[in-house]
């Protein structure tokens, strides 16, 4: 297959060999599961259970609320202990509303929706409904509700479902293992998703550093004409949606548009597996594969973890992580630092890394030497050095004008900077601050509209009062005039 080059990008040390040959193992049932109502982009789910309820495996605990949201299910049978706030697996360390489930150890299944025998004979809507009902979100880490993304076929003309098996983040091997061990499920899930999208073609893109995965997928896809496997070069951030689209099709996605606008929808391989389970077996999303790795972790592993398992349990299972300088959720490039280890694994947790001091590559930033490396390596064609200098002086509008909102936060610039300037940190700050200012501005506009409506109403009331008073006055005057006229005629008659 002809490939197209992508600009910039880096070649970090991948260190995937720590876990790439470790087959997926299941974690023993933990003592309690902590299921946040918000494990996805969009609105938090709304609970359908009360503390004290007995639930079975696969039972709905919280349903999607609003257009962009995702349901949460019980990963095992047990009792709802509480619905309370706990620390979120988010760098802010802010609390999030969470359902606490204490397993009863029986692992009894609830009644699941029927398997869809022939998913290609039903309408795309049926598939989308099933995916929504199963609480599936983008498992690559973005956690966008998959059913919503599968609906893009209704608004866009799509040609290709691009299945993302690039896994360009160092350390992570969870997608690699899924592709090797569950290639048939991945290919089947991809075909079902393509049907839901109305996309005639499926291309599974895998970086060439995963030859076994490419081979396994090739075998699984051989029976289907419209499914092909595309080995792509090892180059970070190949797995970014826009970059993968460009590498495969040569089409560049315009700024602030979707890849669907150029006829391509990108889904992760783990999402395809989840869709397969939901459609073929009626199973909602209850667990995910997490790569536990990093220099500080005693026994790095790929673990199939029930959602809601505490990170502490997971690390204990992997022999602990003594001497870790930093714990990261996700990959080392785009992952987020964990505020504490007392947080649950959620739908978007692709990895838990315990990194040693040497691995964190921490250093005091020194002044910029204008080497231009960040410009050369930026895969989005931006000028990080200039954006950062605007942001340092709080000139966010100028930074936005030269494209800070088009930055995908891949971190290539920070990685390559010889002065250790935290470039991507500046951009994350700027993007967040611009969004916050935008929210403030919208709130102000709303207040203004309310105040204007309020004043207009008062004015209308005053006007109505004036009119009523004028009317009453006119009526009174008319009555008085009439009375006077009558009395004068009477007077005339009497005279």
């Amino acid at each position: 297959m002809k490939l197209f080059p992508i600009m910039g990008g880096i070649h970090p040390e991948y260190r995937k060999e720590l876990t790439s040959e470790k087959a997926i193992v299941a974690l023993p049932l933990p003592e309690a599961l902590y299921l946040p109502l918000q494990q996805h982009m969009g609105a938090p789910a709304g609970t359908t259970v009360e503390p004290g309820d007995l639930v079975k495996k696969g039972q709905l605990l919280a349903r999607a609320s609003g257009a962009i949201s995702a349901a949460v299910h019980a990963p095992t049978s047990g009792r709802i202990e509480a619905i309370t706030e706990i620390t979120a697996p988010h760098p802010s360390g802010l609390p999030t509303l969470t359902i606490i489930l204490v397993p009863d150890g029986k692992d009894e299944w609830a009644e699941l929706p029927d398997a869809i025998a022939d998913p290609f004979a039903v309408t795309p809507q049926v598939i989308r409904d099933r995916v929504a009902q199963s609480g599936i979100v983008g498992m690559g880490g973005a956690t966008f509700p998959s059913a919503v993304k599968l609906g893009l076929g209704t608004s866009h003309k799509l040609e290709i479902l691009l299945l993302n098996g690039a896994e360009c983040e160092p350390y992570l091997t969870c997608d690699d293992r899924i592709m090797r061990e569950h290639a048939d499920a991945v290919v089947d899930g991809a075909r079902i998703m393509a049907h839901a999208l109305g996309a005639p073609k499926v291309i599974i893109a895998v970086e060439t550093n995963k030859p076994q995965a490419i081979e396994a997928l090739g075998k699984a896809a051989a029976a289907f004409d419209n499914v092909s496997v595309a080995p792509v070069p090892v180059q970070y951030p190949m797995g970014a949606e826009r970059h993968l689209t460009q590498a495969i099709t040569g089409r560049e996605t315009p700024a602030r548009k979707l890849t669907a606008d150029v006829g391509v929808v990108v889904h992760n391989v783990a999402t395809a597996r989840a869709v397969h389970d939901a459609v073929r077996q009626g199973r909602p999303l209850l667990s995910r594969v997490v790569t536990v790795s990093g220099g500080a972790v005693a026994e790095p592993k790929n673990v199939e973890v029930l959602l809601g398992t505490k990170v502490t349990e997971l690390l204990k299972f992997c022999g602990g992580a003594q001497g870790a300088k930093r714990f990261v959720s996700g990959g080392p490039m785009m992952g987020q630092p964990l505020p504490s280890l007392d947080v649950p694994v959620v739908k978007g947790t692709s990895g838990i890394l315990g990194l040693t001091l040497a691995e964190t590559k921490e250093a005091e930033p020194s002044p910029c030497i204008r080497c231009g490396s960040c410009v050369t390596y930026c895969p989005c064609g931006l000028v990080p050095v200039e954006m950062a200098s605007f942001i340092r002086h709080e000139k966010l509008e100028e930074a936005a004008k030269i494209g800070v909102q088009d930055c995908v936060s891949c971190g290539s610039c920070s990685y390559i900077c010889p002065s250790h300037i935290p470039l991507v940190h500046y951009f994350n700050y700027a993007k967040g601050r611009i969004a916050a200012l935008d929210r403030e501005r919208r709130k102000m506009e709303q207040t203004k509209a309310l105040v204007e409506a309020h004043n207009a109403r008062l004015e209308r009331q005053a006007q109505a009062k004036r009119e009523a008073a004028a009317k009453a006055k006119a009526a009174k005057e008319a009555a008085e005039a009439a009375a006077q006229a009558q009395s004068s005629t009477q007077g005339g008659a009497s005279a």
């Binding site: 918000q38 979120a88 988010h90 760098p91 802010s92 802010l94 999030t96 930033p365 942001i391 340092r392 935290p422 940190h425 500046y426 994350n428 700050y429 993007k431 967040g432 601050r433 969004a435 916050a436 200012l437 929210r439 403030e440 501005r441 709130k443 102000m444 709303q446 207040t447 203004k448 309310l450 105040v451 204007e452 409506a453 309020h454 004043n455």
Partner: protein, 179 residues
């Protein structure tokens, strides 16, 4: 020579007269910057800045010499917008950012007197005579007028707790987190 001087002089006089009348006829009555500044303010006439309302504050700002940090409901965003329009540096050091707030009615103390409803400029309070009142927090912009007028001190201004959705990374080098 005489013709040249004469024609130029005539042109000068007529054009000058035209410009003079145009300046009189098309004169802009108010300071345009006043209106622009007023558009940047919330417009709820809460008076927390110390002026009667938003237009008076805008007028004072246009004249100069008034700090741009007086608008409490507008917050930091308004200060920055004003600073940008006026071309002054946003000196927010002396200004203590209170953070977002919302009015809250303590149901045990509310006597249903309707006074807060009369004060609220953005219709954020609902209630009826001798009935419990409540604040629609989405519509409240924390001007604090209801808080001041409540005879039973049933209204408090509560800080809005930071949420994950509203959180973002602080600027590198800033030690305190921004929410």
């Amino acid at each position: 020579m005489l013709l040249d001087v004469g024609s130029l002089a005539v042109m000068g006089v007529t054009l000058g007269a035209m410009l003079g009348t145009a300046a009189k006829l098309l004169a802009v009555p108010v300071n345009p910057i006043e209106e622009e500044l007023q558009a940047l303010l919330p417009g709820s006439q809460c008076g927390q800045c110390g002026f009667v309302g938003c237009s008076q504050y805008a007028a004072a700002l246009a004249k100069g010499g008034t700090p741009i940090t007086l608008c409490a409901p507008g917050g930091k965003g308004t200060i920055e917008a004003l600073a940008k329009r006026l071309g002054v540096s946003a000196d927010t050091d002396g200004h203590e950012e209170k953070g977002p707030e919302v009015a809250f009615i303590n149901e045990d103390l509310c006597i249903g007197c309707l006074r807060c409803i009369g004060e609220c400029g953005s219709d954020a309070i609902v209630g009826a005579p001798k009935q419990l009142h409540t604040v629609i927090s989405d519509a409240c912009h924390a001007c604090g007028k209801c808080f001041k007028i409540c005879p039973t001190e049933a209204i408090v201004m509560k800080p809005i707790a930071p949420t994950i959705a509203g959180w973002h990374w602080s600027k590198p080098g800033d030690t305190h987190a921004t929410h």
